[in-house]
């Protein structure tokens, strides 16, 4: 309660000095998920201080991109504030959907150096690695792993694992070890039920399998293009290392995942984990507070670890979003006011406390942060190793091609990994040619 009072007071002081603005009706658009509900609560503070009225438009994940991009492309005025996915930034910047933030940041003393570097690159910059900002990092998210600590700690299971693999059962250090553990639990009898290894992303319809397979591809040395020469993909997307990474993901799917997990994304993985079907779960970090609070698997029964390293290094798929002001909005000033309010360290701290993943260094690098939650350290470790998918204006097509090629190989077992990635290079080359970038 105390934090609430102090931050309200801070916000009041901040806004009192500003010009007295007309009360506006603001609409914030985001995906419908746990953090969004927390943001509604958090925003009550902004409403109280500013006098503006906040409305929310939350779209479920499977339709989120379709609907919001459609909204932006048609110049719609539904959203004043958009917490859009990281990959939209290129298209939204180039097509003028978002308001450029540089001047606003300068004028209000908001420094991008105060945010985790990966989130600034991932959520705010376009072109990447240039100081052109189109968003404020709003929700830091990354793929990581949840595991059944209570199962891992059982002596009989530990003994059997040691006998079989010659090492202790624990958090895997490499992707290979992860696969061993998944294989070990696959089909095992625990408390009278048959359990399985790992719930991984395999969804076909939107972005699921891509967000999953990249966690294997990056670690094996897959690159989206030649780092020296943008859009040169031959030999990077389909390199021998990338092929090995893709083969790994298929092997993991074949030997260590529950039957029927052929079209799973966030929700299905949570269900499988909570119902006690699996020992491991791949998922975005946003689910961790929910896991901790769950009556069946929470309260110390679960542990967390960052995506393990592959032969080429340790990487994890970036999730998360930045918050932007939509350029078609008639309430841009009030919307910017919201961002100014949201960027305050006190508000960011409270955001984290409520289950929102702040990207602000003052919050996540504060002493005691790592111990604040069982998953806090894993969150920090994961955020340090992130990579993201294309954020090009054509990302939707690039994503659809990847979904199709990867699902065809990994789930349907069609062709070889080399053929799948060669095909992907072909599709992507075609897309970039259509775009006039090649």
């Amino acid at each position: 309660m105390k934090t609430k009072l102090t931050c309200s007071a801070a916000a009041a002081a901040l806004l009192a000095t500003g010009s007295v603005a007309q009360a506006a009706d603001l609409t914030l658009c985001w995906a419908a998920w746990d953090p969004a509900n927390a943001l509604v609560e958090l925003s009550k503070d902004f409403e109280a201080q500013s006098g503006h009225n906040m409305n929310f438009e939350f779209v479920p994940w499977p339709n989120f991109a379709d609907r919001m991009l459609n909204e932006l492309n048609s110049g719609g005025q539904l959203c004043d504030l958009m917490i859009g996915d990281s990959q939209w930034i290129g298209g939204s910047a180039e097509n003028g959907h978002y308001v450029k933030m540089n001047d606003f940041f300068d004028a209000n003393g908001i420094d991008m150096g105060d945010f985790l570097p990966a989130t600034v690159t991932g959520y705010a910059e376009w072109p990447k690695n240039t100081p052109n900002y189109w968003a404020l990092p709003a929700y830091a998210d990354v793929v990581g792993w949840t595991y059944r600590k209570d199962w891992f700690e059982r002596p009989e299971i530990q003994a059997e694992f040691k006998e079989k693999y010659g090492r202790d059962l624990g958090v895997p250090a490499t992707l290979g070890e992860l696969k061993d553990i998944a294989e070990f639990f696959q089909g095992r009898e625990i408390d009278g039920k048959t359990v399985y290894g790992a719930a991984i992303y395999t969804e076909r319809g939107s972005e699921g399998i891509t967000m999953g397979v990249t966690n294997a591809l990056y670690g094996y040395g897959f690159e989206f293009n030649n780092p020296e020469n943008p859009y040169e993909m031959e030999g990077f997307v389909n390199s021998a290392e990338a092929v090995a990474g893709l083969e790994f993901y298929k092997a993991l799917y074949d030997v260590g995942t529950p039957p029927g997990s052929s079209n799973w994304y966030m929700g299905e993985n949570i269900d499988a984990y909570k119902s006690g079907q699996v020992a491991l779960q791949m998922n975005f970090a946003f689910i961790w507070p929910g896991v901790e609070a769950d009556p069946n698997v929470g309260g110390g029964k679960s542990g967390y670890f960052a995506n393990p390293a592959g032969p080429a290094g340790q990487f994890a798929q970036l999730g998360g979003q930045g918050i932007s002001v939509v350029s078609y909005s008639e309430n841009q000033d009030a919307a910017l006011e919201y961002i100014k309010w949201f960027a305050q360290p006190e508000i960011q701290q409270r955001w984290w406390d409520m289950g929102g993943a702040s990207a602000m260094r003052a919050v996540v690098e504060a002493p005691g942060f790592a111990d604040s939650q069982p998953y806090a350290q894993t969150f920090l470790d994961s955020m340090a190793i992130v990579k993201d998918f294309w954020a090009e204006p054509a990302f939707a097509e690039l994503l659809l091609s990847m979904q199709e090629r990867i699902h065809n190989y990994v789930i349907a077992g069609d062709g070889t990994a080399q053929e799948a990635l060669d095909g992907l290079v072909k599709d992507w080359t075609e897309t970039f040619e259509d775009e006039g970038k090649l």
Partner: protein, 312 residues
């Protein structure tokens, strides 16, 4: 009753009866499973292995109509005591209610769009069917075939230009746009059905009315309409059911304001994962009106679903 060679023997009847009842029981199980899931707790709904016997809970229905936020224990302790039974139920799960959900709105949209398009469709359809039935309309057969053929187009294929057209006219994601669209889609069904019903009303009634000095309009609404009332009612229900269950256009052309329930129900999520009881509860409530209609409509079912091609 005299002996008839075509009357099946008792043994045949028994055999047929048992086979049909067996099929009915099997076919109804998925439906009962949906309804039952609505009364499970979220944990029971995803229980591994599935639970056939469970403790009934209304959590699914509460979750369907509310949006909730998870709060930690400290914050929970500071909250004022719960005022309602459903607030209490939500608190037991470590959550608080942050507001109503969108389901009510979506359901209402289905009602507005469903009934709006049905009424409009009946007005236009009855008039057109009457004209086709009673007057010599030039190119009548071609027009009738044209009306029927509009129903053959895959909705996704038609949706591209409709999407563009609606966007230019500002009809995207509006009730009016969806009402016009569903009316147009349903007109083929209603014209064909109603023409059949009106054909069955003897022309002599109107002729008598015209001789009595009624105008055509008067004859139409004082003589023909009352006679066709049952036909109109059953046609209306078929149009309503189509608009009620339609998904493809709804998912492409509506979003925030005019979205109907079918695209919404599959996307209902709870706090931390998919909320199957809420999805099932939403589906069950959505099903009730249609189920009632099915029972009321038993006798007209066939004619409706076959565009009047089969008359009973």
């Amino acid at each position: 009753m005299s002996f008839s060679v075509t009357e099946p023997t008792n043994r045949t009847k028994w055999f047929a009866g048992i086979a049909v009842v067996l099929y009915a029981v099997i076919t109804i199980i998925p439906l009962l499973w949906i309804i039952a899931t609505g009364f499970k707790s979220p944990e029971d709904a995803i229980a591994y292995p599935p639970k056939v016997v469970f403790e009934p809970s209304v959590e699914g229905y509460v979750n369907l109509f509310t949006s909730r936020t998870r709060v930690n224990e400290d914050a929970m302790a500071e909250l004022p005591p719960a005022e309602t039974w459903y607030e209490e139920l939500v608190r037991e799960k470590g959550q608080t209610i942050s507001g109503p959900s969108r389901y009510g709105e979506r359901f209402l949209n289905s009602v507005i769009i469903g009934f709006g398009s049905t009424i409009l469709c009946m007005v236009l359809g009855t008039a057109a069917a009457y004209a086709f039935s009673r007057f010599r309309v030039p190119l009548k057969d071609d027009l009738l075939f044209f009306i029927l053929s509009t129903r053959m187009m895959p909705p996704i294929a038609v949706a591209i230009p409709i999407f563009l057209m609606f966007r230019n006219l500002g009809l995207n994601d509006t009730h009016l746009g969806m009402i016009l669209l569903y009316t147009a889609v349903n007109l083929s069904l209603s014209v064909w059905l109603l023409k059949g019903f009106i054909d069955e009303i003897p022309v002599e009634y109107e002729e008598a009315a015209l001789i009595d000095g009624y105008t055509r309009f008067q004859a139409f609404y004082k003589v023909v309409l009352p006679q066709a009332a049952t036909g109109i009612a059953s046609t209306a229900i078929f149009c309503l059911i189509f608009a009620w269950n339609e998904y493809a256009f709804a998912v492409l052309l509506t979003s925030g304001t005019a979205q109907t329930a079918p695209p919404f129900i599959p996307t209902i999520i709870g706090v931390g994962g998919k909320d199957w009881p809420a999805v099932a509860a939403g589906a069950t409530i959505f099903l009730v009106p249609v189920m009632v209609f099915t029972i009321l409509l038993r006798k007209h079912l066939l004619r409706g679903i076959t565009f009047g091609a089969v008359r009973k």
